[in-house]
């Protein structure tokens, strides 16, 4: 009995010292001192001992119990201390770089696209999307660009190969502007409506720093009983201030587009020099960004809307150009360059 008690004590103390955490320590405690613990079981056998041995063994047993309890308590405190120490160590040098999960980058065009949609959503405009392979009718005819009209020169066109199909040569094209979606939507719906259309457009144009044969545009229009020219100006002013920053100024000049009358162009104060004049804005302090006007009565008639009852504005801008301006990039071709050294900046 005495021998067994000592063995249990030794087992317990070596285990306690080796314990790695409080959970383990608790298990050890249960294992030895619990209701079915090894020590408890041994003590239950005390009653079988001869009377004269009882006091001596009893004392030894009590001593062993208190030693084990002491050991448990001491180790417990040690472990709690170590844990604190560990936690402390982890935040001791907070300048250590964090471990980042790998994260990619959204293209600046997407970021600008979502920004633009967001601004116009706030004004009640719904976004639409339509085909890039278009007909002459939606790209030109409906929009008051008659065949053989010099205005078509402003939008040099890429024609699709019509062999092997029923399409007439010269009639199927890649859209030159997102304004195609004026006809497509307006002929299917009655006013009032407010629409924006972002999308890719194509031109027969040689590529350089500010031109491309493929670029992104975005179109907006609104038709109601009393939408006015000043509303167009108000909408564009709101947009550029939301998009480029509250301090941005806008000014308008007269222009001509076949599908609007009266028409305007919008210039914003240079985003680089804030209007003081720099190389980015060719010293003028202003950069041209928008074109628009009141939808031409012929266009409304062409889509079956009575221009005596309804009126509205339309405008368009180069989404690619907005990206270039917003991030002060110097070349349109950067937007189609997949170099991660560019993409990672956004």
């Amino acid at each position: 009995m005495e021998h067994e008690l000592l063995k249990v004590k030794n087992d317990a103390s070596s285990l306690i010292i080796a314990a790695e955490d409080e959970k383990e320590l608790n298990e050890i405690k249960l294992d030895f001192l619990g209701r079915n613990g090894k020590l408890t079981q041994l003590l239950k056998r005390m009653k079988d001992l001869p009377e004269e041995r009882k006091p001596e063994i009893g004392r030894l047993a009590n001593e062993i119990i208190s030693t084990v309890e002491d050991l448990l308590a001491t180790r417990g405190e040690e472990l709690r201390g170590e844990k604190k120490e560990k936690i402390k160590r982890a935040v001791e040098d907070i300048t250590i770089p964090g471990v980042k999960p790998s994260l990619g980058h959204l293209h600046p065009m997407s970021q600008v696209l979502f920004d633009v949609i967001d601004v116009f959503k706030g004004l009640g405009f719904q976004a639409a999307d339509g085909p890039e392979i278009e007909t002459d009718r939606y790209n030109f005819e409906i929009l008051n660009f008659p065949k053989d009209h010099p205005a078509r020169d402003t939008q040099q066109t890429l024609f699709l190969d019509t062999r092997k199909s029923k399409a007439t040569s010269g009639e199927t094209i890649l859209r030159t502007h997102t304004s195609t979606m004026q006809g497509r939507i307006m002929e299917k719906i009655k006013p009032p409506f407010r629409v924006i259309v972002p999308g890719k457009v194509f031109r027969y144009e040689q590529t350089d720093a500010s031109h491309g044969f493929e670029f992104w545009q975005f179109e907006g229009y609104a038709v109601d009983k009393n939408i006015t020219f000043t509303n167009l100006m108000g909408t564009l002013d709101y947009f550029v201030r939301k998009f480029f920053g509250e301090e941005t100024k806008i000014k308008f000049t007269s222009h001509n587009f076949p599908f609007t009358e009266p028409s305007l162009e919008g210039y914003v104060s240079c985003v680089v020099c804030k209007g003081k004049g720099c190389s980015f804005c060719k010293q003028s302090g202003w950069v041209e960004v928008l074109g628009g006007g009141m939808i031409h009565p012929n266009v409304l008639r062409n889509v079956g809307i009575d221009p005596a009852e309804w009126q509205g504005f339309a405008f368009g801008t180069g989404l690619s150009r907005l990206v270039i301006l917003k991030y002060q990039m110097d070349d349109l071709r950067l937007l189609t360059n997949p170099d991660l050294r560019i993409l990672e900046q956004f």
Binding site: T230, M233, H255
Partner: protein, 627 residues
């Protein structure tokens, strides 16, 4: 259009400082692209919109300045009265023309001229606007065109065979040598002039060499025509040949201005080259080409613009534009001079008033009224696109935008048949000839381009592809594609599974992933996926009853796909809620099966028959046995 300040000053007092004048011109619609100093002069480079042929002349620009500044134009004074001239001798000339192809033919013969170099003032003016002086006669016709906006042509009268001018259209294929010595084969329906023998003029575009004015010329016939815009445009485009004259005719020349231009030209010829008038005034015309009436309703003016411009102010603006306004009760009636053939509808007059009133004096007001809520046709929910892109970004992919137009070479590299790919007839270069049927081209390029600088490359693109082998079958679709040289097949599959789950679409993406030499590629037809979208998530109550979880180990042919086994297990009972692969080693696989009921507590009695069923099914389907 180049406009020297000194030339403008001939017709109008310009008091504005030139930068200010440039700004004002831009504001009213003559985009001032450049202002350059030229010795003691200043040259304005103006962008003229296609609706304003009148502004392709110095007088036209001066008229705009006059309107801006509220000043009057001084037109050049006529010297000889060409309408009532009584020539000493009359040289014979027979003109045959056709109003449908040549609405107006104005002309006159001048005899006894001396062709020589132009006087210095004339040559200098032409040089300033970028024209090369040739000889006094050619230079005068050019000068008058740039001054007044009506193109003119001088024929050598003695070279007109049979003294007959016949205006007609070509049959196609005729040979024509222009005055500058270049030969052309003419397209069909070009408007030309022939004499009794030869074709001598390509109307509205270029004169012929065989009837041009050279040193030996003694007698000239000056023609000032009105041409049909689209006839000129078609021939000019077919030939790829443009001239200052064709630019004016395409846009619509001032049909009422031919006599004034001829008058100016005759005066200058007599003054500079000498000679005398040797014919009556020819003026063969389809109609009188008189000014027309156009009115603007005062209430409509306010309704379109959104501001009240006082009637008085509107009238004075129209007056400054020489539109002769007459104010009535509810409208202002104007008489439109023939040089303003862009003014056809009421809105055109509203624009005239607005642009000279000054766009930047307008208030800026956001549209009021109710916001339309009905979903528009072609509506696109860009939030979905944003979600997809952000998920790819969070998975470590960076987004690229690549061209829709690709080369034949790029298609062949991916084993795509160019014959079955949509094609552009007039590509800007063979690099950009076909419409891409896949996004893989741009992604592979992106990967290769980044290799020298980066070890781990993960790129994606969400963009349009153009499907169908010809236009009748053409279909545009949005694809979502990506490439990675650092992620494994299962990692990419996990990304796509996350994406589909996020969109609420049940679809196995395995077939969309392809391992290639460069890296793992994926391509998903996102348009199709989004059609299957289950947009509304519905709340499912948290299970009230605990699940029963059991592990099942089987011996099974290792070639049998994991997916097939899971499907069979799941099919055995509706209580099977989840099946996961816990462990596999050679021909042993261990699955963890979770049973769950939303109605009651499950007991072993519920589960044991299912367990039996699963084991039987394993045996029947896969010859697998429980271990």
């Amino acid at each position: 259009m180049l406009a020297p300040l000194s030339w403008l000053k001939e017709y109008i007092d310009v008091t504005l400082e030139s930068n200010k004048l440039g700004d004002r011109l831009t504001e009213v619609g003559l985009g001032t692209e450049k202002i350059t100093k030229d010795k003691d002069d200043i040259i304005f480079e103006l962008e003229i919109t296609p609706n304003r042929p009148d502004l392709l002349s110095i007088i036209g620009v001066a008229r705009e300045v006059a309107a801006m500044e509220g000043k009057k134009i001084k037109y050049p004074k006529a010297i000889v009265d060409i309408k009532n001239v009584k020539p000493k001798k009359v040289l014979p000339l027979k003109i045959q023309t056709d109003h449908t192809i040549n609405p107006r033919f104005t002309g006159m013969i001048i005899d006894g001229i001396k062709v020589k170099e132009s006087p210095q003032w004339l040559a200098e003016r032409l040089i300033k606007i970028g024209q090369r002086p040739i000889n006094n006669i050619v230079d005068i016709t050019n000068y008058v065109m740039f001054e007044l906006g009506n193109p003119l042509h001088a024929f050598d009268y003695d070279k007109i065979e049979g003294h007959v001018l016949k205006v007609h259209q070509t049959k196609g294929g005729e040979e024509f040598k222009s005055v500058d010595g270049v030969s052309y084969h003419l397209p069909k329906n070009a408007v030309v002039i022939s004499d009794s023998q030869n074709l001598i003029d390509l109307c509205g575009i270029k004169g012929g060499e065989n009837s041009g004015t050279f040193e030996e010329t003694k007698t000239i016939f000056i023609r000032v025509p009105v041409e049909v815009p689209n006839l000129i445009r078609r021939s000019s485009q077919a030939l790829g040949l443009r001239s200052e004259a064709s630019a004016i005719f395409e846009r619509g020349v001032n049909a009422g201005g031919t006599i004034d231009a001829l008058q100016r030209c005759v005066d200058l010829v007599l003054q500079i080259a000498g000679g005398e008038i040797a014919s009556q005034l020819y003026d063969i015309k389809k109609e009188e080409f008189e000014p027309w009436k156009l009115s603007v309703q005062t209430n409509r003016l306010g309704k379109i613009l959104g501001i009240e411009i006082p009637k008085q102010k509107a009238v004075s603006i129209l007056e400054s534009l020489n539109l002769k306004p007459i104010a009535r009760k509810d409208e202002i009636e104007c008489t439109i001079p023939t040089y303003r053939n862009d003014l056809k509808i009421e809105e055109d007059l509203i624009e005239e008033i607005a642009r000279l009133y000054g766009y930047n004096k307008f208030p800026k007001i956001i549209p009021g009224g109710e916001i339309p809520t009905k979903t528009i046709p072609y509506f696109k929910d860009y939030r979905l696109e944003e979600k997809v892109k952000n998920l790819l970004k969070a998975s470590g992919f960076s987004e690229i935008y690549s061209y829709s137009l690709v080369s034949e070479k790029a298609l062949l590299a991916l084993d795509i048949n160019p014959e079955k790919t949509l094609r552009v007839d007039n590509p800007v270069s063979i690099e950009f000839e076909y419409l891409r049927p896949t996004l893989k081209i741009g992604l592979r390029n992106g990967l290769l381009q980044n290799k020298p600088n980066f070890e781990e490359i993960n790129l994606f693109e969400l963009g349009k592809v153009y499907l169908g082998e010809d236009l009748d079958k053409a279909k545009e679709a949005y694809f979502l594609s990506g490439i990675s040289n650092s992620k494994s097949f299962v990692e990419i599959k996990g990304v796509l599974e996350n994406l589909l789950e996020e969109l609420g679409v049940k679809q196995d993406p395995s077939k969309n992933i392809e391992a290639t030499e460069e890296g793992v590629l994926f391509e998903v037809n996102l348009s199709e996926v989004l059609e299957k979208l289950s947009p509304r998530k519905k709340y499912l109550s948290i299970p009230k009853y605990p699940p029963i979880i059991e592990d099942l180990s089987i011996e099974i042919n290792p070639k049998i796909k994991y997916g097939a086994i899971v499907n069979v297990i799941a099919a055995q009972s509706k209580l099977v809620n989840k099946v996961e692969l816990l462990d596999e080693y050679r021909n042993k696989k261990t699955f963890r099966i979770t049973y769950l009921s939303r109605e009651r507590n499950l007991t072993n009695e519920d589960i044991s028959p299912i367990r039996e069923k699963i084991i039987k099914a394993m045996k029947a389907n896969f010859k697998a046995t429980q271990i």
